[in-house]
Symmetry: C2
Subunit: 260 residues, 2 copies
């Protein structure tokens, strides 16, 4: 397939490489900053452009991978070419494109990307939606050329998915940060706790989280929780988080015990 | 080394297997329930006992791997044999043993264990403390026979470490549970989000969490956060957690920007 990338950030970079590796032709890479367009275009064997007026209309698909706020403005400009247009945003409805064109869809990779970190794109879940059944099928077929984890997900479901991803990724990462801060305050290296973080994530690849919950809260071990809160006396904010999440775990476990 | 295991739970099971694989002799396994003692003792080629009166004094080390509340009572009974005694608890000071014997130490594996899940013990961080320098050195040497990640950690540091582990393991697992609940409520499988959980934990094996924070809060993307809170309208508890952790991330990022 001939594909045009709008954007040169983390998603465009990883998606572009995956398309190219699967044998697709990346026609152009657009970025308002020519240097960014050129860098990614070079890697993908594509033409860099920094002005949408220079779009090559000989393409099969426009992939908009830009900040959420910018999607609609770009979609409007691209709609004149009457080609298929998808965005890659978890938080944006397909309707952001549909107001400009019926040939629209969503191609949302549910993963946390960094430009500097390699990852196996075939493991990345791709969440697909199309404005018509035909478009959905076209996009599902394309998705399967780059990933083994392809899902059909409606705009409504994708909203929830995006929220669930905050709880599964952004918030745990912040808790890792708190952990690292506590260690640093007591001259302990973050290295010591890294294997625990890894194993905690590995366990839920196999089990449901509620079934492998460990720690003082799930045992309702009040003595240990009290000691932990004491240790956090100098940090009111971490203390509030500790209390709130412990209460949540205690409640989850009570519910589990009653519904066994 | 000749080693006696007191306990037959997750820690005793994994530690016992690691000692045996490293060529140490497990003399006896004690559990108040003979069936549990027998099962683990069978795997370790040891003698099972369910009465501390039957302890074989011909051992070099008693490893107490039982619930925190039971450590002191057992240490008192074992102290008559005048052999080295360690406990394996993150939340318990070495003084719980020192009141009964000077030959005491701590051998704390910082990992989340399940009996049914295999793991590479050589990656498990072992946190070592001894009542004397000689004991510390003996335990460090022993620890290095089973793990590549051996740390000398004081009782004070271990308290913090145990607390940090709650933030790095128990709380993230609970957030995975919330994520899974949200998906289930909208007919989405937990499978779809498992690769994201994995990659989030993998990223911080290499980077510090604050440096790889992603999501709406770190971008201070108020529109997306508002939409997420709306979605959580039916779940006041998850909403409170969402607000609190988002505020924490916003504050962390502000601090980072100012201290660059």
């Amino acid at each position: 397939m001939r594909i045009t990338l709008i954007g040169s950030g983390n998603v465009a970079t990883h998606l572009g490489a995956a398309f190219k590796n699967a044998g697709h032709k990346i026609v152009q890479v657009y970025s308002p900053t020519m240097q960014n367009a050129a860098l990614l275009a070079y890697h993908l064997g594509a033409e860099p452009i920094d002005d949408l007026a220079n779009i090559d209309p000989d393409t099969g698909l426009f992939v908009i991978a830009v900040k959420d706020d910018a999607i609609s403005g770009i979609a409007k400009q691209l709609s004149v070419y009457q080609k298929l247009i998808v965005h890659t945003s978890g938080a944006t409805s397909i309707s952001a494109l549909e107001i400009f064109t019926t040939q629209s869809g969503v191609f949302y990779p549910l993963q946390t990307f960094s430009k500097t970190r390699e990852l196996d794109f075939r493991q990345v879940p791709l969440c697909i939606e199309g404005a018509s059944e035909e478009i959905t099928n076209t996009l599902l077929t394309l998705a399967q050329t780059v990933s083994n984890n392809v899902y059909k997900v409606s705009s409504d479901q994708r909203k929830t998915l995006h929220l669930a991803a905050v709880f599964a990724c952004n918030f745990p990462n912040y808790l890792y940060h708190i952990s690292q801060q506590l260690l640093e305050q007591h001259d302990l290296q973050f290295d010591i706790i890294r294997p625990l973080i890894d194993e905690t994530a590995q366990k839920v690849q196999q089990y449901l989280p509620a079934d492998v919950q460990t720690g003082p809260a799930v045992r309702n071990d009040e003595k240990t929780m009290e000691a932990h809160l004491q240790l956090l006396n100098d940090n009111a904010e971490f203390q509030v988080i500790y209390k709130l999440l412990s209460q949540g775990i205690i409640k989850m476990e009570k519910w589990r015990q009653q519904h066994r």
